[in-house]
C-alpha cells in the first residue's frame, strides 16, 4: 500500500460512482419517492414479490402490536428455526437469526443462547422503531430460515452469503457476493467487515475480492481461496434481480439474493440506496455501465430475459480485462 489517497483523475478514469453523483443523478432521478416504501418496508417487498411470483423466503407471521408479544411463545412453538427482522430496518440492523432450540432456549446463528424474554425485548424494540429509518413505529417479520447452498461451504462465517446485484432501469449492471466473517459478526455488510467478492456479470465467477476496502485473496476465517468461486445458475439469479424492476418500477436498486439449497434463488430484500463498495470488489466503476444504459434507447417491450441477455453480453468480462481492469483505454 504505497499510496494512501487516490486522485480525482484516477477515480474518473475508473468511472467510479461517488455518493453525491449516485444520490443526485441516479437515485433522485430514477427512483420515485412514492415507490420508496415498497423497498424500505420488507413486508411490502415480500407481499409484492409474492404477487409477481418472485420467490422469497416464506413468511411465517407478523407481529404488529406490543400486546401480541406477550403470547408470542405459542406462535413460536412449532418453528424450530427462523429469521426475525424489522420490516423497516436498514443495513442488516435488528436481524435475529435463530437456528434451533436447546430446551427452552433459542440458539442464535452465532451459537449464543437466548431466552424468550430476550426475544420479547428484541421484538418490543423493533415495534418501537429502534431499527427503523426515521425511528417510526415498525412491525416484526418472522420468516423461514434459508438453508444455504452447499456451493458456499467454507466461504462464510455463520451468516448467509448473499448476492448483491445493482439493477439500473431493469438491466443488471454489477454484481458481488457478500460473505460474512468473524469481523462482521455474521453480518453481510461490507462496512462491518464482510468480504465482498466481485462477480463477472456474464458468468458469475469471481473477479476479485475485498475486505475493509482492501483487496484480499483468501477468506479471512476459513482460508478458502476466493478466486475459485463460481455461482451456478447465474442467469436465473440475474433474471430474478431484473424482475425486481418490473415489480417496483424503481430505476436504480440493489437486489439482495440468497441461494436456498432446496428452493433456489430467493429475493431477500431490495435497497433503494445501494452502497458503492461494490465498485471496489469489482475493481471498476459503475459510471460507464450506468451511462451506457442511460443513453441507450430503451426498448420498453424488452422483458427481463432480454434485458439479462443484453447485460450479460454487453458487460461481459473478457479474461484479460477481468484480471487487469485498470489498463488504459
Amino acid at each position: 500500500m504505497s499510496k494512501r489517497w487516490v486522485s480525482i483523475r484516477r477515480l474518473q478514469e475508473f468511472g467510479m460512482l461517488g455518493m453525491n453523483c449516485r444520490n443526485v443523478d441516479f437515485i433522485n432521478r430514477y427512483n420515485r419517492r412514492k415507490d420508496f416504501p415498497l423497498v424500505d418496508n420488507k413486508l411490502k417487498t415480500k407481499l409484492l414479490a409474492q404477487e409477481y411470483a418472485v420467490p422469497t423466503p416464506g413468511l411465517k407471521f407478523v407481529v404488529r402490536e406490543q400486546h401480541e408479544i406477550s403470547h408470542i411463545e405459542q406462535q413460536l412453538t412449532d418453528i424450530a428455526s427462523f429469521a426475525l427482522k424489522p420490516a423497516k430496518g436498514s443495513g442488516g440492523k435488528g436481524i435475529l437469526v435463530v437456528t434451533g432450540r436447546q430446551g427452552d432456549q433459542f440458539v442464535r446463528s452465532s451459537g449464543a443462547l437466548l431466552d424468550i424474554a430476550d426475544i420479547r425485548r428484541h421484538m418490543s424494540n423493533i415495534l418501537a422503531g429502534l431499527y427503523s429509518l426515521a425511528g417510526s413505529a415498525d412491525v416484526v417479520i418472522i420468516e423461514d430460515l434459508i438453508a444455504f447452498d452447499d456451493c458456499f461451504r467454507g466461504y462464510s462465517h455463520e451468516g448467509v452469503p448473499d448476492i448483491r446485484i445493482i439493477v439500473f432501469r431493469g438491466y443488471p449492471v454489477m454484481a458481488m457476493l457478500r460473505l460474512a466473517t468473524a469481523a462482521s459478526d455474521g453480518k453481510a455488510n461490507l462496512h462491518q467487515g464482510a468480504v465482498g467478492v466481485g462477480l463477472a456479470l456474464d458468468s458469475g465467477r469471481c473477479l476479485q475480492a475485498a475486505q475493509f476496502g482492501r483487496p484480499i485473496k483468501l477468506h479471512p476465517d476459513t482460508g478458502c481461496p476466493l478466486s475459485d468461486i463460481r455461482i451456478s445458475g447465474w442467469r436465473e439469479i440475474l433474471l430474478l434481480a431484473s424482475q425486481c424492476y418490473d415489480m417496483t418500477r424503481l430505476g436504480y436498486i440493489g437486489t439482495d439474493i440468497v441461494l436456498d439449497k432446496f428452493a433456489g434463488p430467493q429475493l431477500l430484500e431490495l435497497n433503494a440506496r445501494p452502497g458503492l463498495a461494490i465498485q471496489i470488489t469489482n475493481g471498476r466503476g459503475l459510471l460507464p455501465r450506468l451511462r451506457h444504459i442511460e443513453h441507450m434507447s430503451l426498448n420498453r417491450r424488452f422483458r427481463a430475459e432480454q434485458r439479462v441477455d443484453y447485460a450479460m453480453q454487453q458487460f461481459a468480462e473478457d479474461g484479460s480485462a477481468a484480471l487487469s481492469p485498470m489498463q488504459d483505454k
Binding site: V6, I8, R10, F14, M19, N20, C21, G213, L276, M326
Partner: protein, 505 residues
Amino acid sequence: MNQKWTFHAILILMALIGIGTAVVRHLSAGTPFLPGQEKSVWLVEARVDFDVTGGPISASLSLPDAQPPGFDLFDEQAASPGYGFTVLGEGSNRRAEWTKREAEGEQSLYYSAQLVESDSHGVSPAGAVFPSREYNNYWENAQELAAKEVLDLAREKSSTPLSLTRELIKLLNNPSSQNAGLLRSDTLSQAELLIHFLSRADIPARYAMGLYLEDARRRQILTPMVEIYTEQEWLLVNPKTGDVGVPSNLLLWHRGGVSVLDVSGGENSRVHFSMIRQTVPAAQLAQITKSDSIFSRLGVQRLPIEEQSMFKLLLLLPLGAAVVVFMRVIIGLKTSGTFMPVLIALAFLQTSLVEGLISFVLIVAAGLALRGYLSRLNLLLVSRIAALIVLVIFMISAFSIIGYQLGYSAGMAITFFPMIIIAWTIERMSILWEEDGPSEVLTQGGGSLLVAVIAYLLMQMPLFVHLTFNFPELNLVLLASILAMGQYTGYKLSELWRFRAMDDL
C-alpha cells in the same frame, strides 16, 4: 442540460440579489461592511406589564439620566399604542409617563433607549438633597442592639464614610456573624439594610438601580445599588461586594427619587429589560431613528429589542447549516444526526468553546454509561428516551452544582444544551456502540463535534455576526451556495480515501 442551466442562472441571480441589496443598503444607509469601523451602541428596552383594574391608567417609570456614567443617551422612544406619553423631570428625576382613559386586560408598554458608550464619567450634579431620616423605629429591640454593635464595630475599623461603608458590607456579608444574621431578612434587601445603617451613621446615602448590560439578554431586572454622598459627590457602592464606582457594563437606570415604577389603575405591574449591542456607526444611528428609508424600515433593527436578540442568533443559523452541508457533501464527514452539530454550535455560542466542549463530552459520556444500565431494564423505546431525558437533566443539575461549589461558573453553562437532542444523541450513540463498536461512535461523535466546532468558530466571528445581522439579505448567498452544493455530483474528499484500493488492484 437546459434545466441545469436555468437552475444555475437562478442561483447566480439569487446570490447577486443578495450582494446587490447589501451594497445598496451600504450606500444608502451607510452600514459598513466591516464590524471594526463602528461604535458600539446599546439598545435597551424596558417593558412594563400590568393588568388593568379599571379607571384611568397612569404608569410612570423612572428613566436614566441624559448622561448616565459611562454612557451617552442618544435617543429614546416609547411604543405603546393608544397611550399618551411624556417624559417629565430633569436630570436624575426623569420619568416616563404613560396615560390612558381606559383599557382592558393585560397591558405592555415599551420604552427604548439607545446609549452610546462614552468615557464621560457622568458625575451627577452634586445632589444637595439629603435623605430624610426614617430609621428610628425600624428595628425591634434585639435587632436594634445588633445593629448598634455592628455599627460600632465598623466605626472602629474605619476612618472615612467610604471605608465605613466597606466595613459595614464586610460585616453584613460575614455568614458566621450572629448580628448580621439577625438583621438580614427576606423582606429587606442588602441595599436597603445598608441604607438604614448609613443613615444611622449620618452618612447621606440613597438608593440606585443599575442594569447590567450583556449582549442579547432578555427579561433582565434591575440590580439594587447604593450611592453615598462623600467629598462633594455621589459614589456608587455595590451593596453585595463593596466595590466602589460604576462598572463599565452597568447602566445606572434609577438614582434617588421615589420609585422605579408607579402604576395607578393597574395591578401586578412589573418591568423587565431586554438589551442588545449593536455595532452601528453613530452617524447611521441618527439615520436609523429619523430617516424613513426603505432599508431602515426593513432592517431587523426595527423590531422590538426582545425579538432582535433572537434574530441575532436565528440569522446565524444559515451559516451553521451551510457548514454542515459543506462538511457532509464535499468533505464527506459522518455526523450523528444531520443538524445536531448546528444546535451544539449554538449552545457553544452561549457558553464558550472549551467549557462547552468539556461539558458536552462529560454529559454524553455519563449518559452513555447510564444508558448501558437502562438497556438491561428491558424498557420500551419511548420510555427509555424519556428516562434518559430525566437523567440528563439530573446530571446537568449535578454538574452545575458541583461546578459551582468548586468555583467554576462554567458548570451552569451546560443548561444551554438542548436536552432532548442530547438524550437522542446518547440513545443513537449507544445503539451505534452496540452494533458497530466504539470506533464508529468515536468517528461519528468526533465528526459531529468537529463540524460543531467549525460552525461555532465561524458563527462567533465578529465579521459574520455583523454581516448576518446587519445585512440579512446576504443569507441569500448562503442559500444559493447550499442549493449549489445540493447539485454537486463530484467526489467527496472522503471518497478519495475510501476508494484508495482502486489504485492497487
